[in-house]
């Protein structure tokens, strides 16, 4: 009997393999530190200090390395269960990494840890909300670092790691799916690694194309403001639908042509990359015509743009090409969750800001770099409601929900409904906290401003209205609000569920 008792041993109550998860987070952190090398050439050419980036890189790699070493012996396999923790923790770590250069070289406006972390989280989650108030004080290398963190976060840190690291111990699709936006319905390729590679190669190519197109405007003398530096900086935040700009007035200083080019690339960035890959790389353009989500995504933007153009024109805010451009640009920026602006729309009349506010909940396509709810979820939810209505009349009716003609798994449909409820719930709770905090600190947010501030962060968009408008800053908000918004950005980027799973008791204990 005593032998059996010995074999049974003490209770093993911890359900998640913590060392294994931390080991992988450490390894990811170790490699992520290398990203700090990117702004160093810019620092050197502009005679700016490079040590903030060296310190940031070394600290991140060092912490990662230490974490990896500390958990090396006991680490088991990273399974589905550990995946949620890895993804959630990696993104917290990445935001911390991004904030180090701000703390060291950001001057007064980024010297508070909360502000620096806010800017770091806003960067990696491709939100584009900023606490920067004085852009002239920022060094060019720090400028570029802000832009670059958005580019890294756009397609996903772990997706990148899977694509480039040779021996990442990741079992299946789980982690990839936690990080890729949108419900996974159709898959690009059989193997996770080749999917990740294809996505990143396409992402890189599109970014390079945009940078060249914008730089060409500068070279041809069509846009004096569009220097090669600006071209790269804005390409780096268009493709991830990020929205950080090096300019205090976002995209406004650039020429109309540059704005139209950026608009086109925003539309592309908000489309499904797996679909883009099939259509562009494999040259099957017919997939674009057949895709239900893409059709609705484009149609919705077109209708909203025309409506907003009409409002802008009739309110006398602009006319002719400028009105059309303002209407289209603002709508595309909101729907794709980029967050650029070509005019300070926070000053617009309430009907126009309400329109933009409503568009904050649309989101780009599944499998794009965009945030928010996403078109396909609206589509599936609409079909679910349609079925509920039909089944009220005929309870016996069997009606699979279809997308592009193919039946969608009922679990996926349920997950979509749950996601939307969680999304609205997170937005409501966040708004409540921000409202209370702004009342206490006297930040002076109106009702719509409060709701938009949380919606824009949860949707990874960027600008809100009022003081936190596109030309404004989130700096006036209290620390509690900022921490809440940091949480919302994090939740929004990971699409809530992987984080919420961590909050359940049975995730940790049997």
């Amino acid at each position: 009997m005593s032998q059996v008792a010995a074999r049974i041993g003490p209770p093993r109550r911890l359900a998640v393999d913590l060392p294994a998860a931390l080991n992988l987070v450490g390894m990811l952190g170790k490699y992520l530190g290398a990203a700090a090398l990117f702004p160093i050439p810019i620092a050197l050419t502009h005679h700016e200090p490079i040590w903030p980036f060296v310190v940031a890189g070394a600290a991140t790699s060092g912490v990662g390395f230490a974490l990896e070493r500390a958990t090396r012996g006991s680490a088991g396999r990273v399974g589905v269960r550990e995946g949620f923790l890895v993804v959630s923790a990696t993104w917290l770590l990445a935001a911390g990494f991004a904030s180090i250069p701000y703390l060291l070289a950001g001057g007064d406006q980024l010297s508070s840890p909360v502000d620096a972390y806010f800017e770091g989280m806003s960067g990696f989650t491709t939100t584009g909300a900023t606490v920067v108030t004085n852009y002239d004080d920022l060094e060019r290398s720090v400028d570029m670092w802000r832009q670059f963190t958005q580019w890294l976060g756009g397609m996903g840190i772990i997706v990148l790691a899977i694509a480039v690291l040779p021996r990442l111990r990741v079992g299946g699709r789980q982690m990839l799916e936690s990080e890729l936006p949108g419900p996974e319905i159709a898959q690009l390729s059989e193997r996770v690694r080749s999917t990740a590679r294809k996505l990143w190669v396409l992402y890189l190519a599109l970014t390079a194309l945009e940078a060249l197109a914008l730089a060409a405007l500068g070279w041809l003398g069509l846009d004096d403001a569009m220097t090669p530096f600006e071209a790269v900086a804005h390409a780096l935040t268009t493709m991830p639908t990020g929205g950080f700009s090096t300019q205090p007035r976002s995209i406004e200083p650039f020429s109309a042509t540059a704005q139209w080019i950026i608009l086109v690339f925003m539309v592309v960035a908000g489309a499904n990359f797996a679909l883009l890959y099939r259509g562009l790389v494999r040259r099957r353009p017919r997939v674009f015509l057949r895709d239900e989500e893409l059709r609705i995504y484009l149609a919705l933007m077109l209708i909203a743009s025309v409506a907003l153009t009409a409002m802008v024109w009739s309110e006398g805010l602009a006319s002719g090409e400028a009105a059309i451009r303002q209407g289209f640009f603002q709508v595309v920026s909101m729907v794709t969750t980029t967050g650029y602006a070509t005019t300070d729309f926070a000053l617009w009349p309430v009907l126009l800001t309400m329109t933009l506010f409503a568009l904050m909940f649309v989101g780009g396509s599944a499998g794009s770099t965009g945030g928010s709810i996403k078109v396909v979820r609206h589509l599936l939810l609409g079909k679910l409601l349609r079925r509920e209505v039909d089944q009220t009349l005929s309870p016996e009716l069997v009606m699979p929900i279809r997308l592009n003609g193919a039946p969608v798994d009922e679990r996926t449909v349920r997950a979509v409904a749950a996601f939307v409820l969680l999304y609205v719930g997170a937005w409501a709770v966040g708004s409540g906290i921000v409202a209370v905090d702004s009342a206490i600190t006297g930040a002076g947010l109106g009702a719509l401003d409060t709701l938009a501030t949380t919606a824009t962060c949860l949707g990874n968009i960027g600008p809100a209205f009022g003081p936190a408008g596109p030309m404004g800053s989130f700096a006036p908000l209290g620390d509690v609000s900022k921490v809440t918004l940091i949480g919302l950005m994090w939740l929004g980027r990971l699409e809530i569920v992987p984080v919420v799973v961590l909050l359940t008791r049975h995730y940790w204990r049997l």
Partner: protein, 441 residues
């Protein structure tokens, strides 16, 4: 002809019954008792063995056969048997039965190495769709890939005076059609222009599918066309029926009691409304207005349920009911109970397979009025004495050419047209004349 039959179940024994008199039959089956029952009734050679064993097939003498028919109830057995038969008897024609539409599609693409594939489900669905397409017809059959339709109609008081009571040469008949015969009591008339269709006659019409529909409208003006159908049962047969009817633009609703099957059918047919229900609940029938359908098709597995559901449908006001009778004996019970048309899938399959045992030039045969008449699809020989004869000069005793297929297209010949070598002709004939007709062509 030496015919090798694999499978002595319902389909196999029906085939044996039809072919044993004229042909040399060998039947192989795994069950000795079935073979014994077969030898008790017919003069056939039997062999107890496995159709998927090449050794057994060779030992049973498949190599000597001209025609190999694999018609067990299992698709995989039939495919393997057909494949081995191909090896053992390279010149024989191989025919296999399948219940999967997927295998039929594969065969059409040339991916299955057999000569013909016959699907019980599809043949049943086609039989039902023919009945639905021409609701006034007592019986109909199609030839030449559906380009030619033959239908038998009963003439009653409702028929349009356009075609009844006037000499045929003056009748406003639908174009692309021909009255092949008028059956008046025990008399058969191969009509000339001066003949008249009378009330109480039955007529056989050969024409394009459109013309057959037009005839149906003329002879049963109140009937109209069926556009809305309810199918009970979403299993293989029910699904095949839904597929064929939907392709014809008919609106289909389905009722299926098994949740899993209802779900599968709903995923397969986007345009079909499918209900997960037994279909016997009066509330359901009333709420969904099942009784408003123009036709009801009963394709459940259980004949008794089909019979009961058909009665319910009639009670709720469906005017036209078609039921699947899995057991041959059910056909007469269904008839007696007032079901308009009964279809026995295995019977339909056997009939389809039997056609392959005819003269190689004869592609297809249909029976009318029991076995009194046959419709033959024959390719004319170069040496036929009627090559170059105008249709007006063709002899008209006991047979009539209704249509010809030339270069893959169906033509409905006029008097001036001339028969050419290599034409496929669709001939209506008295069964006793059939050998002579095949000989003459």
């Amino acid at each position: 002809m030496r015919i090798f039959l694999i499978g002595a179940g319902q389909v196999g024994s029906t085939i044996a019954e039809a072919l044993h008199e004229e042909h040399e039959l060998t039947v192989l089956d795994t069950e000795g008792s079935r073979l014994q029952a077969l030898t008790g009734r017919f003069d056939v050679a039997v062999f107890e063995g496995d159709g998927t064993s090449r050794k057994d097939l060779a030992a049973a003498g498949v190599g000597n056969a001209n025609l190999v028919i694999a018609c067990t109830s299992r698709d995989e057995v039939n495919i393997v048997a057909g494949m081995f038969a191909r090896r053992e008897a390279p010149v024989a024609t191989t025919v296999i039965r399948t219940s999967s539409v997927e295998y039929v599609d594969l065969w059409r693409e040339g991916q299955l190495d057999v000569d013909f594939v016959v699907s019980s489900e599809l043949e049943t669905a086609y039989a039902i769709s023919r009945v639905i397409g021409v609701p006034a017809a007592r019986q109909t059959d199609v030839f030449a890939d559906g380009q030619v339709q033959v239908g038998e109609f009963a003439i009653d008081g409702d028929a349009s005076p356009q075609v009844v009571g006037v000499p045929l040469r003056d009748a406003a008949m639908p174009p692309e059609s021909k009255v092949a015969a008028i059956l008046r009591r025990d008399e058969t008339i191969f009509p000339r222009g001066s003949d008249v269709i009378e009330d109480g006659d039955r007529i056989v019409v050969i024409g394009s599918p459109g013309a057959a529909k037009a005839w149906s409208g003329l002879l049963w003006p109140a009937g109209g066309t069926v556009r809305d159908v309810v199918v009970y049962g979403a299993g293989r047969v029910g699904s095949a029926i839904a597929r064929v009817l939907v392709d014809q633009g008919i609106s289909v609703r389905m009722v299926e009691a098994s949740r899993e099957q209802a779900r599968r059918a709903a995923e397969t047919f986007p345009g079909v409304r499918i209900f997960h229900a037994t279909g016997f609940d009066p509330d359901f029938l009333e709420r969904e207005r099942i009784g408003n359908a123009q036709a009801g098709i009963l394709a459940m597995r259980d004949d008794a349920k089909n019979l009961y559901a058909a009665s319910l449908m009639r009670v709720h006001g469906i005017p036209f009911t078609i039921a699947i009778a899995h057991e041959p004996v059910s056909v007469s019970a269904f008839d007696r109970a007032g079901i308009d048309v009964s279809v026995n899938p295995r019977g339909v399959t056997a009939e389809e397979i039997v056609r392959f045992a005819h003269d190689p030039r004869t592609q297809q045969v249909a029976m009318l009025e029991g076995n009194r008449f046959e419709v033959l699809d024959v390719t004319t020989r170069d040496s036929s004495r009627y090559i170059g004869t105008a249709f007006r000069d063709m002899p008209v005793h006991g047979a009539l050419i209704g249509a010809i297929v030339r270069d893959g297209r169906a033509l409905f010949p006029h008097g001036d047209d001339v028969l050419q070598a290599g034409d496929r002709v669709i001939v209506f004939t008295e069964a006793t004349n059939a050998p002579w007709v095949v000989e003459a062509l």
